[in-house]
């Protein structure tokens, strides 16, 4: 009789919707975030279509405002923040720890349904006519003057925050209490360290955005005028509260991506990672330092110049741990045996593009420079280099790397490589011109611009269509592989890590017997029998 795996163990809708299996929950999240990626992507495509010409031809100003708000909200709160943690983290964490499930499986399912509830409110706000405040909801516009569905969307986002918090909590407890025998902290895969650091940020930052959006909703609904200048209120306090979360949020979005890269690079270099403790500690350093720098989003807001100086200095410091990682990944590849498979292509792309994004981040940390480029396309390019060039590439790399484990099938390698290259080219064509546009002074969130900026905008929009194609291809061939892909063995990459010691796809309770760990992570050198990829 064929062995049951987590996919075949129960076919009813109820067995999926009421599952406690972290792997099934991960797949449900995968569907949900892919749906939101599509929505956010469509908003972006319409925006880039509008920006092909200097005048308004496709949409009016009000609609454009609603589009960039929808793009920001869906991409940040419903795709990037849940993204790698809810899909890859949920799927892999127990496997990497040698555990049967997360610490609190029912809480995990609850997290998913809270996400669905928050998502419903947000979609409702969009369908009812949208919100025009930008994903940043600055007061007093959002709290008093906007005539759009701010309350509905704010409530949706604050509810989704709780989904994030409960997932982070689950990961923290699982990592502390459910490691297999012999799996000490310094033998953990670096992906686990990354998820732990991310979970700490989620725990300590997300509640603040939830309470802040609740206050905006209360101010709109019940005239509780905390941000209202007419009552002596300070609208800037909203920004302090908002960015206290939203800056660390960018580390929620990038740390898991870095964790994925730390898994891919050693495998496709057949070498143990260089400087394991430094990468582990740098994840924790990023989590902590990331909370100190939020004022760099507020340099021109009316914030005290002295506070600006402090935030500027701290923002330079937070770049250091990220740089440490880039050096260590590079050193790992030095004298390694490099295999340029699809996951590795995405990982290499990540390193290059994240470095560009990070270096421009250091430029922005300089108060003087930021004053010139704040609210221009320079900022837009900077964060898209990190979020798209960084996080999304790492996400795709991770999906490809672990696809055999998740689905039991191999994706077609030719199409994988081709898509990676299309994504890389499309991405750079879309966003590099935006650095130049921003530096030349084109403001962000505008649907019209002076005619001299048209060429660069056309390049960017052309890039966006190529990038869209690059994203569509994996959607097609990954689904194709579910039926027609070559069946994967337990360990198609001959990688180290406990997740590769169990069948592909894994059985519901992950391991026949709880594994015992006796060696360091990434022990490629001491396991020559692993051979090549």
């Amino acid at each position: 009789m064929k062995e049951l795996n987590y996919i075949t163990n129960g076919y009813s809708v109820k067995s999926w919707l009421l599952t406690k299996d972290h792997k099934r929950i991960a797949l449900m999240y995968l569907l949900a975030i892919t749906f939101f990626f599509f929505i956010g992507g469509m908003a972006a495509l319409i925006m880039r279509l509008e920006l092909l010409t200097p005048q308004a031809d496709v949409v009016q100003a009000e609609t454009y405002n609603k589009l960039f708000t929808l793009h920001g909200v869906t991409m940040v709160f419903f795709f990037l923040i849940p993204g790698i943690p809810a899909v890859l983290g949920n799927f892999l964490l127990p496997l990497m720890l040698g555990a049967r499930d997360l610490a609190f499986p029912r809480l995990n399912l609850t997290s998913f349904y809270i996400y669905v509830l928050g998502a419903s409110f947000t979609l409702a706000a969009a369908v009812l006519g949208g919100v025009d405040t930008g994903w940043t909801f600055y007061t007093p516009y959002s709290s008093t003057y906007s005539n759009t569905h701010v309350i509905t969307m704010a409530v949706g986002i604050l509810i989704t925050g709780f989904s994030s918090i409960l997932t982070g909590l689950n990961f923290i407890v699982t990592t502390h209490k459910m490691r297999a025998p012999g799996l000490t902290w310094f033998r953990l895969p670096l992906f686990v360290w990354a998820m732990y650091a991310t979970s700490l940020i989620i725990l300590l930052g997300t509640p603040v955005i939830s309470v802040t959006l609740a206050l905006v909703a209360l101010e709109r609904g019940f005239h509780m005028g905390i941000f209202d200048p007419a009552l002596g209120g300070d609208p800037l306090l909203f920004q302090h509260l908002f960015w206290f979360y939203s800056h660390p949020a960018v580390y929620i979005m990038v740390l898991p991506a870095m964790g994925v890269i730390s898994e891919i690079i050693p495998c496709f270099s057949r070498k143990r990672i260089f400087g394991y403790p430094f990468i582990a500690f740098s994840s924790m350093a990023i989590a902590v330092l990331g909370f100190f720098v939020w004022g760099h989003h507020m340099f021109i807001s009316g914030q005290s110049i002295y506070a600006g100086l402090v935030f500027s200095l701290l923002s330079f410091l937070v770049a250091i741990p990220s740089a440490v990682k880039v050096f260590n990944w590079t050193a790992t590849m030095y004298k390694g045996r490099i295999y340029l498979r699809t996951p590795m292509l995405y990982a290499l792309g990540f390193i290059g593009l994240f470095t560009i994004g990070g270096l421009t981040g250091i430029m922005l940390a300089a108060l003087g420079l930021d004053v010139h480029v704040h609210d221009t396309y320079f900022i837009v390019a900077h964060f898209h280099y990190i979020m798209v060039g960084g996080t999304i590439m790492a996400y795709l790399g991770g999906i490809h790397f672990w696809w055999p484990k998740i689905s039991g099938r191999l994706y077609p390698e030719f199409w994988g490589k081709l898509s990676a290259m299309i994504v890389f080219i499309g991405f750079n064509l879309t966003f590099f011109p935006q650095f130049i546009l921003g530096y030349l002074g084109m403001p962000r969130r505008y649907h019209v611009y002076p005619p001299e900026f048209q060429v660069l905008n056309v390049l960017s929009s052309a890039g966006a269509s190529i990038l869209g194609m690059g994203y569509l291809l994996p959607l097609i061939y990954l689904i194709w592989s579910l039926r027609y892909g070559e069946k994967a063995g337990d360990n198609p990459w001959n990688a180290t890590g406990l997740e590769w010691k169990t069948p592909s796809p894994p059985p519901t309770f992950n391991f026949e017997e709880t594994p015992v760990v006796t060696e360091e992570a990434y022990a490629y050198a001491s396991r020559p029998e692993l051979g090549h990829v």
């Binding site: 610490a103 609190f104 918090i165 909590l169 407890v173 209490k177 300590l204 019940f222 005028g225 009552l231």
Partner: protein, 212 residues
């Protein structure tokens, strides 16, 4: 020990209990930050509008606030007794102390409701009907927004706490717990104590500003 006490993902009851304890403390850390946003706003506005805050604090009912604080502290004691009994495996004692805790919690909410009603009657609810005969009238609305926001959020947590306690009481009554397994009671206790600690700070910050 029955097999039903140990969930499948854990190896031992101790591991399960440790996980539950760490889990609730991690959750309480998030709650500190959740209330924390309001504490931050309070700190800034108290610094900016000291006269308004002193004046508004005098409009708070010190006697009811103090009584409520005593009620909540007592409920923490009874909750500690409940958890103590649960860990000893004493079913009836546990249910009894939980019910007393719930009663005290309800008294707290009743008194709070009375205070809210008074504020409503005195036109001290922020919004178009706010009335205060004072040069600090504008900033006073900020104080009262914070008052209703902070105590309202606290009251919401109390209501959730009462629901949780009701469920725990029913589970205890149904014999789900024993000397070897009483995590839900313990977790509910930690949550209840936390909500008490929030009030321990809210009371002086809102009711005890300046001198009377």
């Amino acid at each position: 020990m029955s097999d039903k006490e140990l969930s499948h993902q854990f190896e031992t009851l101790d591991q399960q209990a440790d996980a539950a304890t760490l889990g609730i403390w991690a959750f309480l850390a998030t709650e500190v930050l959740f209330f924390g946003g309001l504490f931050m706003l309070y700190t800034v506005y108290r610094f900016k509008f000291p006269a308004a805050f002193v004046e508004c604090s005098k409009l708070m009912d010190l006697r009811l606030g103090a009584i409520n604080t005593a009620v909540l502290l007592t409920s923490s004691l009874t909750m500690a007794f409940a958890v103590h009994s649960a860990r000893e495996g004493q079913k009836n004692s546990t249910v009894g102390w939980i019910l007393v805790t719930m009663l005290l919690g309800s008294v707290f909410l009743g008194i709070k409701g009375l205070e809210y009603y008074h504020k409503f009657a005195e036109h001290l609810v922020p919004g178009p009907y706010f009335q205060l005969d004072s040069p600090n009238r504008r900033e006073a609305q900020i104080f009262f927004s914070l008052y209703f926001g902070m105590t309202g959020l606290h009251a919401l947590h109390m209501i959730i706490g009462l629901v949780v306690l009701a469920v725990i009481a029913m589970m205890t009554s149904a014999g789900k717990f024993s000397k070897t397994y009483s995590n839900p009671v313990h977790i509910a206790g930690l949550y209840w104590h936390f909500v008490d600690i929030i009030w321990i700070f809210l009371f002086p910050l809102l009711y005890l500003i300046g001198n009377r």
